[in-house]
Assembly symmetry: D3
Homo-oligomer: 321 residues x 6
């Protein structure tokens, strides 16, 4: 593995067929000691923040397995992330499946350590709660912008009496000053709501909310332009709740909401983020027990690759500066 | 259950998690005695009218289960049906799985009783035959208009020698004078046909047929406008055969026809029916044995909710007049 | 529902087919106010005590659904539990999917209330942690005997640093003086272990451990005789972790261990408990996301029925005394 | 196809791989005109007699597909049925999925025609109702003996008000004088019952009922000996409801009852029928929608092969006499 | 079967329900001796050219089964192929699952024989390698044009050291002079690539490549117009790799690439080929083990029907000239 | 990874939950450079020797994933293999999915290299062909004994014209002098056969064949005793074709044969091999596409663990001598 880690290239599928060898994210080398890594692919096998159907704890494993299908170059943007940066699978963030708060703290510490080493993370959840400890760990110099794909705003104050769960991370992150609501864009919101006030917090804080109705009215190009304008050239994080997609693309998720984004929508918009100042990203809420076929995880793996491409492009550009 | 029935609110998912308690439609109270109910959510576990793959008899059970995911407010239209009306799950219409004609008669009587009590039904089938006994039961003062989403016209004269089955209900209803073909719109027709004459009856009777080719050529806004114009402000019923959707949205149905509506199409068009004089609606042909994942039933539950929203809006407006 | 609750008979499947109406346990009346109930069928949708694959939170829903297949009379023992006692589905114990300890306390209070009303519970989990709050709630006069079917002893001191989880309930229960280890029999233990000491606590405390090797060497008759002798005629509780069965009978469980009991084994041994002084029972660890076919839940429902039969027989005898 | 029909040998899997060519029963030639056929393999795609979960209408198709795995010789009995007799797939009996009684009549006529041509049928259902029209069609000279594997007696008088359904065929057959209850053996009965009287008719008529409790107490050898003695050397029919097996062997069936026969039990007992005077047989209640994996149909196909072996042996011996 | 073959009409589903009788492509008569056949529906159960997930060897069987749902007339184009031409299922091309090269040769010979008899093939793969031996067999007078739907160009020189596999057929066909790259259109290309040069060969040879980005930018009408112009009125072959579709339409394929064509896209574009000089077509890469639900095969069957319609139209026109 | 490799202990599931981190066999360290390894767990992702349903190429991946459930100590034998020996996952043997013979040669070379380093392999297939190159690689000093669990003898001369496939390995191995037929025991043979001569080669060569009929007649103890006597104390290899089990235990295999071994049978017999001179073992024919639930792979992982236990015991004893 030493040599693999040295040149940081994925297993060559023209030599070793895709079904062979233990699965790592996109067949990248497994480098748990993180030596030389610029971009870390990380799993967060956590779902204690789920209030309905559990399962995303198994997300990293199935995304790793389905990411065997990913090759090296993005056919649309021509970005070749493994050429641009030293990318590796560094394993999973530590969690305790019996303790929500301890897990949050352990994940935070894990990402803080990465940030201290200058490693940029692209992560696979886990339920959407995990974006909070990721951001707690990696945000160091004031609040960051966020491009947030989701069916739900995840800005409730509490759910079932709890302040830390998959319905609240972006409210907590605003309160803690780690994300800037005025540089936050939420894309794809829709579905039934507990009350008409469910997403009011975002509007009140100055978030830009592009519901599915808005998305369709605007069209992709305007969505991309608006997003780029809002987050600007300051540090920005990308988070993709798989349920931002229409459920046909993610039968394996806990809270599917019909009438959502297509994979094509998601791919085009993420590609449109190229050139931004990106500090990392994640894909969350892939729940393998609800989709043993792996179709949801395949989409998750592809979204993770799209995010990796624009993040690697950003990291490579940053390196030159 | 008395108190639940009194205030007619669904179980509060911020107190009782979605996976708990026996499943009723959208977590509404189960009120088999119908006391105080304005809008009844009804299951019709019947599929003896199916000529190919059976299974919709299990539709109500799986739709109930997946409707746990429905919340209280429509995020696009802001309609809150459980605030507007007293909505309850009143259980299933009676059927005999060994006797087609007896079942039809029992279903008819069940709906006639509801109509006599002034209760408006929103139903979950069952195969599409059930729309006939529903209409026989609830239509009292001359033929009604119909908005009919489907891949198939369901206006054959006979199939396999039978006049009552899931390929014939709308022809029978025209013949019986309970629907007005000139106020009937069929949306989404497509697929292979037994003969080029399969849907000619509708054209001959003056139905408005918007095939998938038409739908795409017109666009949603024109489809909505045309539909509203045709049905006008007289009593109108909404019926949604789940196979009106593309099969990716309904793998669990008996006669899937590729190239159909998206859930987004369906949601937008149903929302466009707001303000019409709606007397009820149904979602049919969800076949759980063909989709144990529940993805089809999830879409069915969401369509049922969309229909409920516009029906509740209509009922509430009617109450004021 | 009032009349149903009055005579406490399940829905008659010779009138209303099995696939109709909302699912309750064994089609018994749903009586959330518990009026007149002697034996309560209860769901506990809790799985925060799971350390690997989650899912049993959905157990009660799927067991209710598959229990539609249960009829009224036990063909082997001829016990007709719904004739012997007033049996009803009283809904689910309250839980908070975001808080393990709060859930345990709420479940305990729920069962304490039942015990206070003299209602005997037969429950469907939920992971095996739930047997602890059940016993905390219902044991009032000193420790009870336990007949415990399982692949695992569930007597670890801690797992992942936690004292309350699905690997520890019977140790806690001994420590708390609510079960009598000398009147406890564990049947079916097997599988790989963390260490050779995993089940030593049980031996040390005087539990009777019948491993699969022992079970096979003894044969069912001797297992029954030994069990009856050990628990004697004092109050005894029956708990069945579905993974006591061979995984072919329970693909939908979190910790399957090949080489286990057959359903026939389980049925015969439970029937062999007839005549004991039984204060309740449960079936745990049915995990629907891991078995959408419902085969595991079908077996769970049948085991629940077998336990109900011997419990109802005990309750009815106790009533006479 | 002419040549295939002439020598009546299955497709040779050492030349044409198992996954190739349209599926026929056991890869035998498809001979819908029945010319030269001695033993006909027949499908009966009928399930209108089902009172709960439908699906056996698809049984013949899936059994055909899984029977690709069957080879030519029985490894235990060394019977090579395709060498002993001219065996062919003659297609399916005619049915009308919209008309129970018409279907029964058409099936009866179909089998009567076979009997008239001296062709012995081995059939794949279909729900268990189909054994009645089969027997009506083929029994010509007084009542025949029956070896009946099942979890249920299927001797109710009526169910849901109907006299013809999958719970009644053997009562009707006794009443019509086409089976001799004193030469009828029912093997594997168990499960929950509507009432303690459910199977009393069989006892009253003199049927031999070997419940699962009896089966286990007797052991296979005594079961075989008793069965052979009871049916004697007069014409006997074999009917196997797949739910006679434990549900692990038949997840794809409508009324599974845990605690049943193993495939090994079934194989050994059917092999033990060799030498009897067998006039045909069937395997029923395989429901593909409930088991898309085909595992149930695989067992169905193997049971059909076992029955074919003993029937072919009987036909070949009869030919010599 | 003789009569069926004589009039070459599919089984009439208004007489024989869809689930009955052995499955042939679109219920056409099975005519392995090919007498009188104009258009042959052929299966090629071959997948030795797959480099990742196998399974297409089972494609013909599942496509046959799902094609039971196809009726006789195309609702959009009104083409009735079974009226236009004598269409039959002639069985499967011969293969050896243990020998890639022998299989290729046997398939080639099989198609050469068809071509010699003037029979036009519409085939169901098999992996995409099979288009090479099909073309080798049927192309006689110089290179033909190709309309090629796919996520991948399939024009690599070698993969895993092999020149014959599912990543190379169109390069080999160009080299062998059986297809004309200047009359070849590739539609739907996208996804991750081994290198940025993966599809360069096509550009270099003068193929017209319409990537998904191009497709969306052009719109369907321009894609159709461009395709018609490029292939002109000389002989043209249509080949559809099911993975040209978005994976929601083909979960059962070996190399799914998110962001692809919808079924509606595919239907409209294929219908747009009407009037071309079409010499055959195929649908490949349906992998049943990866989609037991049959949804992928249903789409495959419908695409095969769409191709059949335009091919039959071409054959019928050719006949008149 | 260095430290993990140094102490060669599996990931401690009391610290890192089972669902976390990339999957290796039984969570052992991944040591592709093999430094310090005594027993290598190896995957062989090869299935080009399959003549019917493919898929075992994915076996190693799914067995790795399901082996997360394995703990450290055998509860019956008390063997703790990771304490006895330095056990590691060394990755997969090299294969070419486009070239059967090249794959066989590469696998042979891989195992020859292991043998040269004194590393004992316990492998996960792959189809059963792989046992031939394993044995070619590791057998050095004359033929070895074999304990072979299987439904099939795998001693045909050729199948489909090929001498190297999953139906022939043990005949080839006898011919090549690498296994000693007189020290070979085949356990579990049954099922339908191509001809009555299918397994005659084994009898002729002096193999001991314990068919399922024999197995049942003898009982496990006699089977163990006979096996131990036949293989004696000379070097012996253990190979387990998963289809030796009844299909309920292995729905995910290519050639299931009803009426086979239970997992309990297999566990007890393998444990009975303790004390023999074991040089390695394998588990083959797990086909994940046919069982996405992982149940088959779970059994495969457990059998691999059972074999590992007796092999580790043998290696540890050998080390002392």
């Amino acid at each position: 593995m030493t040599s693999a880690a040295q040149d940081f290239q994925p297993i060559d599928s023209a030599v070793t067929p895709r079904f062979a060898e233990p699965a790592t994210f996109m067949r990248t080398p497994y480098v748990p000691d993180r030596q030389g890594v610029e971009i870390a692919l990380v799993g967060i096998p956590f779902d204690l923040g789920s209030t309905n159907r559990a399962g995303p704890r198994h997300g990293p494993a199935q995304i790793r397995d389905m990411s065997r299908l990913i090759r090296q170059v993005n056919a649309s943007s021509h970005i070749a992330p493994f050429k641009l940066c030293r990318v590796a699978d560094i394993g999973d963030a530590p969690v305790n499946p019996l303790d929500l708060m301890e897990s949050i703290d352990r994940i935070t510490a894990f990402y803080r350590d990465l940030a201290g080493k200058g490693i940029v993370p692209v992560s696979a959840g886990g339920d959407h709660t995990v974006t909070l400890p990721i951001l707690r760990g990696i945000v160091r110099n004031g609040p960051v912008g966020v491009v947030h794909f989701d069916a739900h705003a995840d800005t409730l104050d509490t759910l079932l009496g709890s302040r830390i769960n998959h319905a609240t991370p972006f409210r907590r992150a605003v309160e803690e000053g780690i994300i800037d609501p005025k540089r936050t864009v939420q894309i794809g919101l829709r579905g039934t709501r507990y009350s008409d006030e469910d997403i009011q917090y975002g509007y009140d804080m100055g978030m830009t909310i592009i519901t599915m109705d808005d998305f369709e009215a605007m069209g992709r190009d305007k969505v991309i332009a608006a997003t780029r304008k809002i987050v600007g050239d300051k540090p920005t994080y990308v988070t993709f709740d798989i349920d931002g997609l229409d459920p046909v693309f993610c039968p394996g998720t806990g809270a599917p909401e019909p009438g959502g984004l297509t994979m094509r929508d998601a791919q085009v918009v993420i590609r449109g983020l190229r050139g931004l100042n990106l500090i990392g990203g994640d894909v969350c809420e892939v729940s393998p027990p609800l989709d043993p076929s792996g179709h949801t995880a395949l989409n998750g793996a592809n979204l993770m690759f799209e995010i990796l491409c624009v993040v690697a492009d950003s990291v490579a550009r940053g390196r030159k500066n």
